[in-house]
Amino acid sequence: MTTITPLDETNKVQVSKDQEHEDHRLFGLVAFLVADGMTFAGFFAAYLTFKSVNPLLPDAVYELELPLPTLNTVLLLVSSATFHRASKALKISDSKECQRWLMITAGLGLAFLISQMFEYFTLPFGLTDNLYASTFYALTGFHGLHVTLGAFMILIVWWQARSPGGRITSENQFPLEAAELYWHFVDGIWVILFIILYLL
C-alpha cells in the first residue's frame, strides 16, 4: 500500500516531534513487577494456608538444612550490591568497570543456581511426595526460573555494554536499569521466600 506520499512523510515526522514523550519503559516494568509479585503472593498465601490447615503426618515432616540456603541468600544479596556497582560505573562512563561488575553479578547468580540444584539433589523428598514437598518445589522452582531469566538478562546487558558502539552507554542506560530493577526484585522475593519457607 503506497498511501503515504513523501509530503505526508515529512508531515508525520514533524507531527511526531511535538509529541515526543519521555521514556516510560521503567514505569511499565515496575507495573509488570507488581503483577509478577502478585503471582508470588498467591503462592505464598497458598503455602501458608496449606501449612496451617493441612498439617502433615509427623513422619512426613523434614527439617530443612539451613547452611546452604543461607549461603544462597548471601550470594543473591551480594549480587544485588555488585549489580549496583556496575550501574554506578556506567554512570561515570567507565565501561570496563561496568562489564567487570556485571560478570561478577552473573557469576554469583550462576553460583546461586548451582547451589540450589545441589540442594534439590540432596533433599530427602521429591516433587510428588506430599503437599509440603510439592509447594516447596513449586515456590523455589518458580523463583529459580526468575533467577535464570535474570542471569540471561545480565549476560545480554554485558554483551551490549561490551561491543564497541553498543547499545548501552552512559546516555542509554535503559537495558541495564531494567535488568538491575528486575534483579533486585528477584532478590527481594528470595528474602521473603527464605523467611517463609526456611525460617518459619
Binding site: F27, A35, T39, N130, L131, S134, A138
Partner: protein, 557 residues
C-alpha cells in the same frame, strides 16, 4: 508546514486517512486498528459463545438430556462461559474501547507501549482457536469456567490442560493491556490536562487496570499449580493426596470476583461517556463517580469469599465477606443515581445508543439488587449453585456489560467508520434484545428459588414450562443479532456520511475526522478540560433549562 496555526488544523488531508482493510489483519501498532481488531475478534467469539448458549437453551427446553449428551453438555457450558468472559466481554470492554478511546482522552497519539499492545491483542486469536479446537480434537474441558478441583483433576486431562493454556495466554494478554492502560493514563497525559479533568472512562479503565494487574497473576499462578496436579500428579488441590480444594477456590475467586469488575467497571465508564452527549447535560457528580470507582476497586479486592459461603467457610469469614460485599452497594448505588440524575431533565434523544444505555441501567439495578441479596449468607446458602445465581450474573454481565457494548457500538460507529448506523434497525435490535433478555433470564430467578440446580443437563419435569419460556427468550436474543449484523455490515457501505461530530460531542475523539487519521490529530492534540460541558451558559449553572418546567433539575455541586 505549520498545522497548529492553520484554521483547518483539524481537517485531515485524505492521504493521511487509513486505507485498506488488510491493516486489520496485520501486526499494526495503531491503537485504533488494534481497538477494532479487539472489537471484531471479540464479536466473532460472541457469535460462537451465543451459538453454544442456544445449544444449552435447546437442551434445557426438555427435562431429559435429548439434544446434547451429558458430557457434551458439560463441555458446551464450559466453553460458553469461558468464551463469553475471556474472549468477548473482557477483551471488548477493556481492549477494544480502551485502545480506541484512551489515547484520545489523554491527548496522546498512541498508547504508551504500542508494540506490547499489538502483542497483547495477537495473543487472543490463537488462545481462542486453541480453546475451541479442543472441542473437536480432544474434547473440551468439562469442569465449568471455574475449573474447580477435584472435578477439573478427574475429568479428561487433555481438554482441561488446553483450557488452562488458553486462559493463561488470555490472562497474559489482559495483564499486558492493563500495564499499558495504567502507563498511558498516568504518564501520557497531554501537558495541562489534570487527572480530574479526564473523561470518566479513563478513571474506569485506570481502576480496571489496577484490578487486572493485581489479581490476574494470582489466577495464572493458581492455574499453573492446577496443571501440575493434572500432569505431574502433585497434590496441591487433590484431597486424596493431602491437598486442599478450598485453597483453589480462594485463589480462583481472588481473581474471578475482581473479574466481574473488570467486565463491568469499563461499562460504567462507557455509559458515563454516552449519556451526557445524548442528554445534552454534564455528567452528574463527576467527583463522586471517580471516588466510587476507586472505592469499588478497593472493596472489589476484599469480597471474593462471598462465592464460597457453602464451602465450609468459617463464621467470622462469612460475616466479614457479607458486610464487605454489602458495602459495594454504596458506591454502585452512587453511580446509578448519578446516571439517573444525568438523564433527569435532559434533552434526551432516544436513539439506539441511549436506549441500550437505559436498558443497561434497568438491568443492572435488578442484577445489583439480587447481588446484594446473594451477599447475605442465609439467603445465599439457600440458592447457591441454583439458577438464581445464573440469572443474577447474566443480569450483570449481559444486561450490564453487553448492553453497554451495543450502546457503545451505536455511539462510536460513526467515529470508527465515518458512516451512520440505521436508527430504525438499531431500535428494533434494542426492543428484541431487551424483551428476549428479560424473558430469558427473569424466569430463572423463579427456577433458582424453587431449587433448580445449575450446570446440569436434566431437571425435574415441574420446571419444564418456565424453562421453555426462558428458551423462547434465548431464541429472541439469538434473532436480535441478525438486524444488528445486517446494520453494521450494510451501513459500512451504504450508511449516511456521519461527518466528524454527528452527536455534537465534546470529548476529544469527536474533535478529529471520522475515521481519525494515523496519530489522531494533524496539529497538536486539543486540550479538553471540560469533557462534559454541555448546555453551559454561565459558570454557575452548568445545566440547560429543562423542556418541562415542572420538573426540578438536580444541580451538581
Amino acid at each position: 508546514m505549520t498545522f497548529a496555526n492553520s484554521p483547518q488544523a483539524n481537517q485531515v488531508s485524505p492521504s493521511l486517512q487509513p486505507k485498506g482493510w488488510l491493516r486489520y489483519l496485520s501486526f499494526s501498532l495503531d491503537h485504533k486498528v488494534i481497538g477494532l481488531q479487539y472489537l471484531v475478534c471479540g464479536f466473532l467469539f460472541y457469535l460462537i459463545g451465543g451459538a453454544l448458549a442456544s445449544a444449552i437453551r435447546i437442551e434445557l427446553s426438555s427435562p431429559i438430556s435429548d439434544f446434547l449428551a451429558r458430557d457434551v453438555y458439560n463441555q458446551v457450558l464450559t466453553l460458553h462461559g469461558t468464551i463469553m468472559i475471556f474472549l468477548w466481554i473482557v477483551p471488548v470492554v477493556n481492549g477494544a474501547f480502551g485502545n480506541y478511546l484512551i489515547p484520545f482522552y489523554v491527548g496522546a497519539r498512541d498508547m504508551a507501549f504500542p508494540r506490547l499492545n499489538a502483542v497483547a491483542f495477537w495473543l487472543i486469536p490463537p488462545a481462542g482457536l486453541m480453546l475451541i479446537s479442543s472441542y473437536f480434537i480432544t474434547g473440551a474441558a468439562e469442569s465449568g469456567w471455574t475449573a474447580y478441583p477435584p472435578l477439573s483433576i478427574t475429568t479428561p486431562a487433555a481438554g482441561q490442560i488446553i483450557w488452562i493454556l488458553s486462559v493463561l495466554l488470555l490472562g497474559g494478554s489482559s495483564i499486558f493491556g492493563g500495564i499499558n492502560f495504567i502507563a498511558t493514563i498516568l504518564k501520557l497525559r497531554r501537558p495541562g490536562l489534570k487527572l480530574m479533568q479526564l473523561p470518566m472512562y479513563c478513571w474506569a479503565m485506570l481502576g480496571t487496570s489496577i484490578l487486572v494487574v493485581l489479581s490476574t497473576p494470582v489466577l495464572a499462578g493458581t492455574l499453573i499449580l492446577l496443571s501440575f496436579d493434572i500432569v505431574a500428579h502433585t497434590g496441591f488441590f487433590n484431597p486424596t493426596l493431602g491437598g486442599n480444594v478450598i485453597v483453589y477456590q480462594h485463589l480462583f475467586w481472588f481473581y474471578s470476583h475482581p473479574a466481574v469488575y473488570i467486565m463491568v467497571l469499563p461499562a460504567f465508564g462507557l455509559v458515563s461517556e454516552i449519556l451526557p452527549v445524548h442528554c445534552r447535560k454534564p455528567l452528574f457528580g463527576y467527583a463522586t463517580m471517580v471516588y466510587s470507582i476507586m472505592a469499588i476497586v478497593v472493596l472489589g479486592l476484599m469480597v471474593w469469599a462471598h462465592h464460597m459461603f457453602t464451602s465450609g467457610t468459617p463464621p467470622w469469614m462469612r460475616l466479614f465477606f457479607t458486610i464487605a460485599t454489602s458495602f459495594i452497594a454504596v458506591p454502585t448505588g452512587i453511580k446509578f443515581f448519578n446516571w439517573v440524575a444525568t438523564l433527569w431533565g435532559g434533552r434526551i434523544s432516544l436513539n439506539s445508543a441511549v436506549l441500550f444505555s437505559c436498558g443497561f441501567i434497568v438491568n443492572f439495578v435488578l442484577g445489583g439488587i439480587t447481588g446484594v441479596a446473594l451477599a447475605q449468607v442465609p439467603f445465599d446458602v439457600h440458592v447457591h449453585d441454583t439458577y438464581f445465581v445464573v440469572a443474577h450474573f447474566h443480569y450483570i454481565v449481559y444486561g450490564g456489560s453487553v448492553f453497554v457494548i451495543f450502546s457503545s457500538i451505536y455511539h462510536w460507529y460513526p467515529k470508527f467508520t465515518g458512516k451512520m448506523l440505521n436508527e430504525h434497525l438499531g431500535r428494533f435490535h434494542f426492543v428484541l434484545t431487551f424483551i428476549g433478555f428479560n424473558l430469558c433470564f427473569a424466569p430463572q430467578h423463579w427456577l433458582g428459588l424453587n431449587g433448580m440446580p445449575r450446570r446440569v443437563a436434566e431437571y425435574d419435569p415441574q420446571f419444564a414450562f418456565v424453562n421453555q419460556l426462558s428458551s423462547v427468550g434465548a431464541l429472541i436474543m439469538a434473532i436480535s443479532t441478525l438486524p444488528f449484523l445486517w446494520n453494521v455490515i450494510q451501513s459500512a457501505f451504504n450508511g449516511d456520511v456521519a461527518g466528524d461530530n454527528p452527536w455534537q460531542g465534546l470529548t476529544p475523539e469527536w474533535l478529529t475526522s471520522s475515521p481519525p487519521p494515523v496519530e489522531n490529530w494533524q496539529g497538536e492534540a486539543p486540550l479538553v478540560t471540560e469533557p462534559y460541558g454541555y448546555g453551559i451558559t454561565n459558570e454557575e449553572l452548568a445545566v440547560e433549562p429543562s423542556i418541562n418546567d415542572d420538573i426540578q433539575i438536580p444541580q451538581d455541586k
